[in-house]
């Protein structure tokens, strides 16, 4: 099986990250067309018709989200969420590193649709090299007149700022991102009001992921129908999938949505080492409920993953082969979310902490099977009760692991008790 490179087209060209290199491959032609010839409504319609779903995790229709922004004179904002921090996800890093201008062009075109005069790229603090690359690219774009005042004589202005985050996973949550951008502690806000209505500095704000916005230039250039030519009805387009864990060739692979998951893991990423088999995998980053070998033949789409009780999320597959201890994997996952919980709401703050303590006891052999029931019950108590999705992001995978691999958890407990006895 081969990749379908659209977003990563020409990615092998090291000059792509410069303005000249990008333009050599046809870059910024769509921006010129959009700023010279197109109205916001046209762009919005193209995006809505394309069926492009958000690539950050929630999979919400990008065009629909943009259409929620009220019209009017107030200051509106566009934020690009580049705070890619989910364990297993590293596709935005590559998109920004190899093709920063594609993102800038996407932001500039989406800004017309959102009628935003100010745009921000909120980039994960650890993505230092990528932030430098973006800074350089943004400077070039300003120089070329693709950003700034009166872009290409359109009487539209767009100011684009690259803002480096301070290292909190929670700032990838869109409202926490807004608080952090405003200089506050990065904590999620209550929704509603949704950012589209009341976002950054209280103004209507469109927030999209790097990959989502990187898709915009081509959709506007070639039209919604062209885009729908890839993928499935409900999951159109291509997707850059980060595959990691127990595979021979971990990396980013761009495929049409709908390819069999097995091909992604085995053909593109090379599958587990000889003699090993896939035991479980996260289909969409560490916050997605794990699937097992039985689910390998599912088409890789938003809808199929949801039907299997998991989610496509940011499109990050993490593979665990049969050498991996699921209880340890559960602990590792829980520790991450415990560490990253902002502490604002009770179920997440206390639930992640309690879960870690219980899983530590399981792994140390100081638990009883009753503790497994409590672990499951605590996950149930977290799910759906939190202010944002971070709590659920731990509860869903941990719950799935205890449910699907309960035997393995019990075996760990039994063996430890056998040693003690």
């Amino acid at each position: 099986m081969a990749e379908t490179r659209v977003l990563l087209k020409h990615a092998e060209d090291p000059q792509l990250r410069t303005l000249a290199g990008y333009k050599r491959h046809g870059g910024y032609q769509t921006l010129e067309k959009a700023y010279r010839e197109m109205e916001a409504e046209e762009i919005l319609k193209e995006l809505e018709d394309s069926g492009l779903r958000g690539r950050g995790g929630a999979g919400f229709s990008m065009g629909k989200k943009a259409s929620f922004l009220p019209r009017g004179e107030m200051a509106k904002y566009l934020c690009c969420n580049a705070d890619e921090s989910e364990p297993g996800a590293f596709k935005d890093r590559e998109l920004m590193q190899r093709n920063p201008h594609q993102l800038i062009e996407g932001i500039a075109i989406a800004a017309i649709a959102a009628d935003a005069g100010h745009a921000f790229i909120f980039i994960r603090g650890e993505y230092d090299a990528q932030a430098d690359i973006l800074d350089a690219a943004v400077a070039e774009a300003y120089e070329a007149g693709y950003l700034g005042e009166d872009i290409l004589g359109s009487r539209r202005d767009l100011e684009l700022v690259v803002h480096r985050g301070a290292g909190a996973y929670i700032c990838g949550e869109e409202t926490a991102l807004l608080d952090a951008l405003e200089g506050k502690r990065g904590n999620p806000r209550l929704k509603p009001p949704f950012p589209a209505v009341q976002g950054l500095y209280g103004g209507p704000t469109l927030i999209n992921n790097v990959e989502t916005l990187s898709n915009v230039p081509r959709i506007v250039a070639h039209g919604a129908e062209w885009f729908r030519g890839y993928g499935t009805e409900q999951s159109p387009g291509t997707k850059v999938v980060s595959v990691s864990g127990c595979v021979r060739r971990p990396g980013n692979y761009e495929v049409e949505l709908g390819v069999p998951t097995r091909e992604l893991i085995y053909d593109l990423a090379g599958g587990p080492l000889d003699g090993r088999e896939v035991k479980a995998f996260y289909p969409g980053g560490s916050s997605s409920p794990v699937l097992t070998a039985e689910d390998l033949d599912l088409p890789y789409t938003f809808e199929d993953m949801a039907e299997a009780g998991s989610m496509l999320g940011s499109g990050s597959i993490v593979v665990a082969d049969d050498s991996v201890s699921i209880p340890l994997m559960a602990l590792r996952t829980a520790r991450f979310y415990h560490h990253e919980s902002c502490g604002k709401c009770t179920p997440c703050r206390e639930g992640t902490n309690w879960t870690v303590k219980m899983l530590e006891r399981v792994v140390r052999g100081e638990a009883t099977p009753m503790d497994l029931d409590i672990i499951s019950s605590v996950q149930d108590n977290i799910m759906g009760h939190c202010l944002c999705v971070l709590g659920d992001s731990m509860a869903m995978p941990v719950s799935a692991m205890v449910k699907k691999f309960r035997g393995e958890f019990e075996a760990v407990i039994d063996s430890a008790q056998a040693v003690a006895a």
């Binding site: 902002c342 604002k344 709401c345 703050r349 303590k357 009760h385």
Partner: protein, 853 residues
Amino acid sequence: MSREVTILIDGREVAATEGEMLHDAAKRGDVEIPVFCYEPKLGDPVGACRMCLVEIEGIPKLQTSCSTPVRDGMVVHTRTDQVKHAQSAVVEFLLVNHPLDCPVCDKGGECPLQDISIGWGPGKSRMIDEKRHFEKPIELSPLVAIDRERCILCYRCVRFSQEVSEDSQLQLLERGDRTFVGTFDDRPYVDPFHGNITDLCPVGALTSYTYRFRARPWDVEQAGSVCTLCPSQCNLSFTVRDEQVKRAIARDNPDVDDGWLCDRGRYGFEMFAAEQRVTAPRLRGGQVSWDEAIAAAAAALRAGGAEAAAIVGDASNEEGYLVQRILREALGSPHIDSRVSTGPGRDTTLRLAQPELSAKVREIDDADAILLIGTDPLHSSPILDLRIRKAMRRNGAKLAVATERPTTLDGGAAAVTRYAPGEAGAFLLELAAGLATSGTPSSRFASEEGVPEVAEVLQSAESVVVIWGERIGREGEVSIDALLDVTEALNLADKEGSGLLEIPDLANARGLREAGCLPDAGPGLTRFTLSPPQGLNVKGVGKPTEEMRAALESGELKTLVLFGVDPLRDFPDTAAWDRALTAADNLIVFSTFETATTAKADVVFPLETHAEKDGTVTHPDGRLQRVRPSAGRPGDIRPNWGVLAELAQALGHDTGIDSQPSAFAALTEAVPFYAGISDSEIAGRGVRWQDRDAASSLPAPDAPSTQGDVGTSPERFAREEQEARGDSPTPPQRRVASEGEVPTAPTGAGAPLKLGTYRDLWAGPITELNPPLRFLQPQQRVELSPADAERLELKAGDTVQVAQNGSSVHAKVIIRERLSEGVCFLIEGTAEANANALLNGAPVSVEIQKVES
């Protein structure tokens, strides 16, 4: 406007207002939904604790009722299995890291976490792992202890600091379950309102050092009263154990205090039992019986007769009413006042009191614009500082500040202007003139910086509340007239939600004026003319405070009664007052504490505090409130109304008052616009007399042309007024102390600076008599602009002598960037180096010289 809707909660129909939060609607419908983080006083909900999750039909996930606005026909369930399960889960989570050290926790018995755990929790915890640990308890401030193990991170205290007090000192540090409440670099949380966080805390994490381990809820009684330490007259509850006040907590009254207390009102109760408390009557020779003291006082008053005078300060309406009856009815003296310095005459007082010109405290909330003139609420009526911040933060009110000295509200103001000390009247005249003329603001004001901006803020507003300081009246009647001109130019009388709100110098200033403690007006602001009303043998109009002082010194007045005032500390011109008190043949002082003034007294009577007193006070917005006896009176203190009634009796005048209710009844009879107010009408929240039918009995002010009338205003006021109202085409010159051209600004190293003074929040006996507040006691300091400091070759921290015409005080230099050149500021009422020593009734210039230490 908002629509009335009906929602269904647990099968019960509940009337609600569209858009209000479901939790509030449920509460009114008698459905209790547990909450920790939700507190409407703090502004928008945060939805952090997740305790109030409920089921709403049509929404798959449970919703937080604190943040869900109601819609018509909404069907809500709060007792289904799903909801019970979720709420029980949240309680279990909250207790995961809570130490459950209730037996040694001060909150025990009055703890929402306890109550909700019992009511909604699972009953037992499945958590067997180790809980998080913090050092406990530690000092968050010298007054508040923080126990971080008990904290459930509900955000209330932090929101108070950030969104109510706006000091932003409290922060959440770290994250996740390691989060804790603290300050930058562990610095103490110092803010004049910070005690409110102990009321807000729903667990035992924030406790006051003054109350820790003092009592359990079942040992105490809560007694509602009103704080009379400043004109804010906040409602509070005293926690009383064994007849002694152990704590003061807020008693929410949105019409007065919005549910907050300042730290003065909250922590200023240990002084009730201070050593300096006057606990029994005494004569010069020492303590005597009540009979002897009253006989001696009566003899002294009789000797004074019509040459006796009285100044009333910290007093209830009834006390003030009785004092003026003794003076006027028993002695035939008209000399009574309730102001620390000069003030306007009766007619102007009446014009200010007109109901249509009077703003309610609550109207600040919805005002489009607020003008702050001649006062800094933080120091003079602290709770209004929070109220103004709220109006700006939540409703986008525009604030215009016009003061001598920079205020704490400047930061959020739409316009800020400074006038030189003693020039408020000139500023107001100019503002009024500008507002009355048409054209763009900038074209109407020739030179003065700030005035056009202030005018613009006010003119673009539908509703304007003008908050003004009584002390602008010290400049003479002309300044109050100018204030009235501004209200006229803005047409405030006809604008909904607009009006004047005074911040007076004394806590019950309005009540005392209305009870008749003015030299030219009797109870109900009735006029005194040459033919006195029936029953009075008083002739003409009395002397106001400053004239009394002069008359005492010259021997024209013989006897002085001071009721709840300390002129040697609080009145301008200390030396003159010292001479006046020395010259008086007889000095009778009613005082709560021993002071320099009581030391000079021939007779001293003890006074009750607001925890002990029974009586009414009148808020500056006209709200009559009841001060209720909450604690025992120490020593041999008697109710003041009784002492005054007995004194009148001893003078052969039967007031007919034999109880507090009869004193109150007499007052409401004497003040026509208080007519018929009953104790039950005042109840817990008070009643504004302007909102009652009897308000129409307020006398109408005279037409301005009758200003020559018998001394209603002293001649010098009239003269100034005439000058100011003259037909001169140019407005009066303002001596501006702002940047740029300063015509009268001093030049040369020795040139004097204009002195401004202010009463600091913490200057006064409060920080001396309450041990926990001692750390806040201000030392005298002189504030200088950087330019003046440079010219005088002074740096911050230098000790200087500030001198004026033979008097001087020592002070430390503070350099303030925001101060205008040519002025300096000192604090009034400090224990040492009191700025009142330098004041003499006119604007003062001072010389500043470095003192080698």
